[in-house]
């Protein structure tokens, strides 16, 4: 009835130790787990391949190096930086709708400080760099305020940042009086035109932000603390993590990245408008969530959400290249996303579908 082969020792399985010959063979056990964690990060690959094939079928111009590097990547860069910012905030268990507002607010403050009164500015004639620094300081202040209201007062992040979004968009319109600024100092547009190793500097910035954030979130203690806080704020607190301070920090970091995205966009459209970036927050959330970030916090990866950006960028590009009547472009966009979701369900999304 009972065999003696199970000593208590053999029940402890430490699979990272090379030969832990235990009951269910850890060696065979460990491999699938590792693979699975990769598989989860890259679970969007089937969808990306699927969309790539559609693109190839619809337009000969899609699968060209020029199109992929200069169109898909360049037009996705601003989105990518915003998505990284939002992903970190979501992983920490929070929510920030006001990131969208920074995309127009930061460049607007800067250009307003620079521009003469005749040109619709403050007339204070700040130097471009001082103005940029001031606008970044403003972004930090907003992030701090969000962080304090959410992290310290415990107000609902959704509604605080929604009100903040409305407020900041209003401030942007108010400052500019609705005008568009097209006379920009060189330092405002360099982010749009500079190239490095044949690629737009926008792409490099986006790649750097993604890589930096990915390493930070997976390899550094602070990144892991952000995951822990989002996963279970009480357990994180019980383990000695200063969750409030961390929440404030995450909001500030997000605001900084969003301001950077704003300057990148200004570089690309060579102007500052009060409405730049309007509505982008939906796409930001879409990319993050498609990329595997959980709105409940604690789950998902930066690499995953960057792939989400890539997927959406590819779909947009294909639709632009295609001959679909413009009235049906939006419907096609929604349909492809839905199809990709269901397809991914069939392959790998299933693992994280549990609520």
């Amino acid at each position: 009835m009972m065999s003696a082969e199970h000593t208590p020792e053999t029940m402890i399985s430490v699979p990272d130790a090379p030969n832990s010959g235990t009951r269910d063979g850890s060696a065979s056990d460990r491999a699938p787990r590792k693979r699975r964690s990769w598989a989860r990060e890259l679970s969007l690959l089937p969808a990306i391949v699927f969309v790539g094939i559609i693109g190839f079928a619809l337009s000969a111009n899609f699968l060209t190096v020029n199109n992929l590097l200069n169109n898909v990547l360049v037009t996705s860069s601003v989105l990518a930086v915003l998505v990284v910012a939002e992903s970190v905030i979501l992983i920490s268990g929070n929510f920030d709708l006001s990131l969208e507002a920074h995309v127009s607010l930061a460049p607007m403050i800067a250009i307003w400080l620079v521009t003469s009164q005749v040109g619709g500015g403050s007339g204070w004639g700040w130097s471009p760099w001082a103005a940029i620094i001031a606008s970044v300081v403003a972004a930090v202040a907003v992030g701090l305020l969000n962080g304090l209201l959410v992290g310290k007062l415990g107000l609902n992040a959704f509604i605080v940042t929604l009100a903040m979004l409305i407020l900041l968009q209003g401030v942007t319109t108010g400052i500019s009086g609705g005008a568009t600024y097209a006379e920009l100092p060189e330092s405002f547009v360099v982010l749009g035109s500079a190239r490095f190793l044949g690629l737009s500097v926008q792409v490099w910035i986006a790649l750097l932000v993604i890589a930096g954030a990915a390493v930070f979130m997976t390899r550094f203690p602070l990144g892991r603390k952000i995951y822990a806080t989002g996963g279970n704020i009480q357990a994180a607190a019980a383990a000695g993590i200063r969750t409030k301070r961390l929440t404030v920090g995450v909001f500030v970091a997000g605001a900084l990245l969003a301001a950077l995205a704003g300057f990148m966009l200004t570089g690309r459209i060579a102007s500052v408008t009060a409405t730049q970036g309007d509505g982008i927050i939906f796409t930001v959330f879409a990319a993050s969530v498609i990329g595997g970030i959980s709105l409940d916090g604690g789950r998902g990866s930066i690499v995953g959400s960057a792939l989400g950006v890539l997927l959406l960028g590819m779909i947009q590009n294909i639709l632009t290249l295609s001959n679909i009547p413009s009235f049906w472009i939006n419907a096609s966009y929604g349909l492809i996303i839905l199809a990709a979701l269901v397809l991914n369900y069939g392959t790998s999304l299933r693992t994280r579908s549990t609520r």
Binding site: N67, S200, I269, A270, D278
Partner: protein, 317 residues
């Protein structure tokens, strides 16, 4: 009621904007408010419906409630604005529309330019530039706005009829600057584009210029590799680019005229004067259409020859 005659007997009037989300609408609202106040009317600050026709109805009710005796409307949608106008009619408050006409209700006068005609003018310019062949990129505005739909219609109908040899790649920008940049980038880097038509230069010209510069397609007129550029609106940037020999033609909107005429008609309306069809003192004619009077203003085509015309709104500031 209270607000009706504050400020030493000045008549209270109002301005309702369908949306203030683009430079054109912003400038229009500022002009009308400014000119009305200069003309001795107590113009309340403009109210903004934010693109929601239902809100424009309640905005109008609010203006009437605050004692407005005359209202200038900038409709977002020609049809959806009708209940708002009927509400004003019921309160016997005269209504004037600017820029976009309304399709119903009693309107004192509709001051507008012909968006279809603007699209046609742009089409003629494109035809001239391309010589009737090649591929053209059309960046049009949101088709759910009257201006976007009518310019698109005027342009594409005319292209199909008059220049069947030109292939038009039409792309919707939703009046969004970044979308215009992304679309121009993608299309112009993958297709051989002979000319570009932008339905609104105040939204698109800086961004598309930047894209074309990066692609090496922003060349002065006459240089090899020059890509033709035709725009509607006539913002300061676009006129500068005409003078710099980069942009070929601009169809300029009569926005300054909108402002002064709206103030003038508003004054007449609250004073009880009636308008009659016939020619005006400003190169246009008041005509009757669907039971309402319209003052249809011409939209001049600007090229290098008349780019310095001081009456163009883009040259005003």
């Amino acid at each position: 009621s209270r607000g009706a005659s504050s400020k030493s007997g000045e008549t209270t009037v109002g301005y309702s904007a369908g949306a203030l989300d683009n430079p054109f609408a912003v400038r229009l609202s500022k002009l009308v408010v400014q000119k009305s106040r200069a003309g001795g009317l107590n113009m309340l600050s403009a109210v903004n419906a934010g693109g929601d026709p239902a809100k424009q109805v309640s905005d109008l009710n609010a203006l009437i409630g605050r004692g407005a005796k005359g209202i200038v409307l900038h409709p977002r949608d020609s049809d959806a604005i009708v209940p708002a106008i009927k509400a004003a009619n019921k309160a016997h408050v005269p209504v004037i529309t600017v820029d976009t006409a309304a399709n119903g209700g009693d309107i004192y006068v509709q001051i507008r330019a012909d968006n279809v005609a603007m699209g046609e003018s742009a089409c003629k310019e494109i035809g001239r530039l391309t010589g009737g062949s090649g591929t053209v990129l059309e960046l049009f505005g949101s088709l759910t706005t009257t201006a976007g739909a009518e310019r698109h219609k005027g342009f594409t109908d005319c292209m199909a009829a008059d220049f069947p040899g030109v292939r038009v790649i039409g792309k919707n920008t939703n009046w969004n600057t970044a979308t215009a940049a992304d679309t121009a980038q993608t299309v112009m880097s993958t297709s051989n584009i002979k000319a570009v038509f932008m339905a609104s230069d105040s939204v698109m010209v800086s961004a598309v210029q930047k894209v074309m510069q990066n692609l090496g397609q922003w060349k002065p007129i006459g240089q090899p590799g020059h890509v033709g550029v035709v725009t509607i609106d006539g913002s300061a940037e676009s006129l500068d680019a005409v003078r710099a020999h980069y942009v070929d033609s601009v169809v300029s909107q009569p926005i300054d005229q909108y402002g002064s005429l709206a103030a003038q008609y508003l004054k007449q309306a609250v004073a009880g004067d009636t308008l009659k069809p016939g020619p005006t003192d400003h190169d246009s004619e008041i005509v009757e259409r669907n039971g309402n009077l319209e003052d249809v203003l011409p939209s001049p085509v600007v090229t290098i020859t008349n780019a310095d015309d001081p009456t163009l709104w883009g040259n005003a500031s």
